[in-house]
Symmetry: D2
Subunit: 304 residues, 4 copies
């Protein structure tokens, strides 16, 4: 089956799941997104691109930004990053303080909130404005100069910052945050509030499918080994407390966000982005996971 | 043995312990206190008062203030207080986030930091300025109009607020803090930074020895039952993670602070204050606990 | 009010609570006990004794036995006991493995199951048959040669031993159990399954009211200081995860069991036993706690 | 580079790591294994086989057996297995009771001890003797009729069973173990004590490289989807608390044992077994992980 037919088939097959689940409502700016959206985009290493549904509608990438923040930090700091954040699955909720307390303020991995906050703090230590740098890279990688921070979402996150503020203050009390707590939080929320479409996301993900060198960019951004590490982390820790289940069902490195987006990587072949706002109980897009599972089943592609 | 001789004997007996241990150094303002101070004061229900050593030197009462904040809250709010804070020993460090997370932001008791922060939040909800009210009551109860907040200490606490900020933000994320986090912290640090001498402290404690009615004040401040509850809490939760050991060795309701002060209550008879800045591993004054243990051994007084 | 009238008044006042709550049903042998029983006994240091209701009916003392096992261990081993068990409130369920794992197999105190299992192991190390010794002492202290182990209950406990077996094996893996797991469990269940009446229990408790020397026995069994330590432990850790609440409401050292019995101590004055099988959510006799609260309210007696 | 040269190069490169680390000594039978052993075997889907070093010496496969027990359970029970054990990384030590208590006796995955004990219990429920069945399958898959249980090791495990007994009794108390605790433990220890060489292990692993159908066996043993699930689990949970690090460094599904063996899978291509008894701090063979890392680096093979 060719990719266009494949996308058609998936699009129809997932309709019963679109709008099922619960749109993230912890901040008002997200709660008002219509639940019945669905978009998907494939971006291949050879330059081909296939989209379906609402693939050109920008949405809040939320935790998918954790991949890009990490990529930027690896580009700037190399393996230094791993001095202050681990690489292991957490076995706890994405915003839990328990393991953080038992492990003296060292987050388990960069894809739980605490870990992404430390990565943000690293970036603040080596850049005047990490958000501008991140946007610059995303705009180049996607050829979309319109990628921006949705300030309404960022302000809403800031308003409801208590849980993340608790994490950041706690880590600062352990010496694992160096900038001011407010600055770390503001920057972190800016990254979470970046608005991108499925088309944008799949294009940006090509960096990881290409093992650090996107065919869309002139320069290598990560070493081959760093890119593989990010892929490995996405597989073991990319979908909150459902990483094992995602590996079972989809069998690809993936990173989800509560905005309903998921980025998945097929090394050497393509990058896939899918978006549908209604979430399952673990916080992953219900129709999105379903679409990816069908994709790997129908194509027989899986890293396993 | 009469009380003056008793104090003399204790004073000499504890000398080997004075200065042993470690002065609290988590904030600079406390770290500079000389370790070799020792004062003790007995304040009896019948009006007699006996002091020895540095009993008239003001020190930072720190967590002993948690007793006074609770007393003020019970006076203002009655049993409503217990809607948002428990009465059980915590079995965890005084500033742990673990139990707080497992129990959805309801602190175990008002004598761990999280609990005192909730009590402070209650006070902010029913008073324009709880610190002024607290000072007013302490000044009346001690006949010492000079009792004040040591602003240098309060500022130093504020500078190093991260752990307490983590606790407060976390509880706010659970809906158990209503005022702004900064206002709660500022007020809490003011209470911790109140400077009082042993003489002051013992006088203030008479309220609890008198079951809610201090012979030094015109009005009943707590009901008999409320006062007993505070005494019960001091016994089960008053000395951090060493409440059981304190009950074993001293056998009295007591509340300690990292400034080196301890307030102990002998119901119907007297209130005792002791101060020596060097702390044992659990954060209680080493010479202070020793002095209280000798007092109860020599007099045979114990609630057990 | 004289004690007989007092008991009458309490007896009538608690009737609405008798049978309320839930009879322990984790083993069949306990589940069949009628819920509507209520007995109470006061045993004074001066020899007077007052009883009401089902005060002469034997029941399964369950966790109240933890006090007697500890008393026997202190008599045989002195302060050595504290090498392998702590003295602090646990802040966790009576049969939790969590704290035990974080603290390397050292139980928080001798009144949670893990702690009593270690005390039992100590006894097995210094006695051929601790159950026979315990019964001998209880028979002397109560003048009741009929006190015995209810073998049906003990067998039922053994049948349902998995949770306690988990605790014991875990501690053995940490090196904190020396005898065989099965022998420790068997002996522990024998102690839990001792059947005594309220009259018996109050008589046996006189040892603690008398600070180690019961007026009913010829010899001193504990030092004054050991007896006070047991009383302190009963107050801080005697009623499962409701020790703070019990201290609030009753204000006396007490130890409860899931058989519905509670032993409470008024130092220097008397020992009180109460029994009613229906339990509140924390595992304490609902009518029993109510009766003790009324007793201390009506008499004004409280250690606070 | 051809495979024989590759193995030669790896063999020499890892020599500095051979014997570094610590041979498992929790049971005497394992502690006496010489630390300086090293063997490696490649078994390709096309029938080729390459070995080096001590590749024909049998060793105790220990936790690698958890893969085979799971495979057998999936063959017999299908997806029913997942009713009583999860698929998520644990974030805790392999023998921790903490998460088990918080999650009511449902183990996080089948590769921590608790999970493998539940799998064993499942097998006991659908087979007269799971050990005989497991050996039968292993003998067929490896063409080695000599594969057996090392009874000395099994007895030694039984002798030191306390931690595993605690896990099993705990789960039984939660209703998640149906057979007798002793029977589950005996069977579990038999599986851990199976002795196989690298050559055997790699041959057996071909089932997973072949997605459920080993070229060495006549029948399909798992569905394609089941085999991928096992591979996914090996990647996310296969190397104790170092799964993330293993995914980073090696980038293949792998399962290690404290006997020093590791089985790794390259889907569709080959199965690799490596053995060297000295372990790193996380319990994985130090030279073994090093050898696998070099293998994937030199060949450029990785699932990422």
């Amino acid at each position: 089956m060719e990719y266009p037919e494949l996308l058609e088939e998936i699009f129809h097959a997932v309709q019963p799941y679109v709008g099922k689940g619960k749109v993230a409502d912890y901040i008002p700016a997200l709660a008002q997104i219509p639940a019945d959206k669905f978009g998907m985009s494939l971006c291949l290493m050879d330059g081909r691109e296939y989209v379906i549904g609402d693939a050109d509608e920008p949405f809040s990438i939320q935790s998918v930004s954790k991949v890009f923040s990490l990529v930027l930090a690896l580009n700037r700091l190399g393996s230094q990053v791993w001095e202050r954040v681990g690489k292991e699955p957490s076995g706890n909720a994405f915003n839990s303080l328990v393991q953080l307390e038992y492990e003296n303020g060292i987050p388990r991995n960069p894809f739980i909130n605490a870990g992404a906050l430390v990565v943000t703090d690293w970036l603040l230590g080596c850049s005047v404005d990490p958000t501008i740098e991140l946007l610059a890279w995303l705009r180049e990688a996607t050829s979309n100069p319109g990628i921006h921070v949705d300030l309404e979402v960022a302000d809403s996150e800031w308003e409801h910052r208590d849980r993340n503020a608790a994490l950041t203050h706690f880590m600062k009390s352990c010496g694992n945050i160096h900038s001011s707590v407010d600055r770390v939080l503001r920057t972190y929320f800016e990254h979470c509030s970046i608005a991108m479409s499925c088309r944008d996301l799949a294009r940006a993900g090509l960096l990881l499918a290409g093992h650090g060198k996107s065919p869309r960019c002139s320069d290598r951004f990560l070493t081959r080994s760093q890119a593989k590490e990010v892929n490995a982390l996405m597989l073991t820790c990319g979908t909150y407390d459902a990483a094992g289940d995602f590996a079972f069902r989809v069998g690809l490195p993936g990173k989800s966000g509560v905005g309903g987006g998921i980025l998945a990587i097929i090394p050497n072949l393509m990058s896939i982005a899918v978006w549908s706002p209604a979430l399952d109980a673990k916080g992953n897009s219900m129709a999105g996971v379903e679409a990816l599972e069908r994709f790997t089943t129908l194509t027989g592609i899986s890293v396993f």
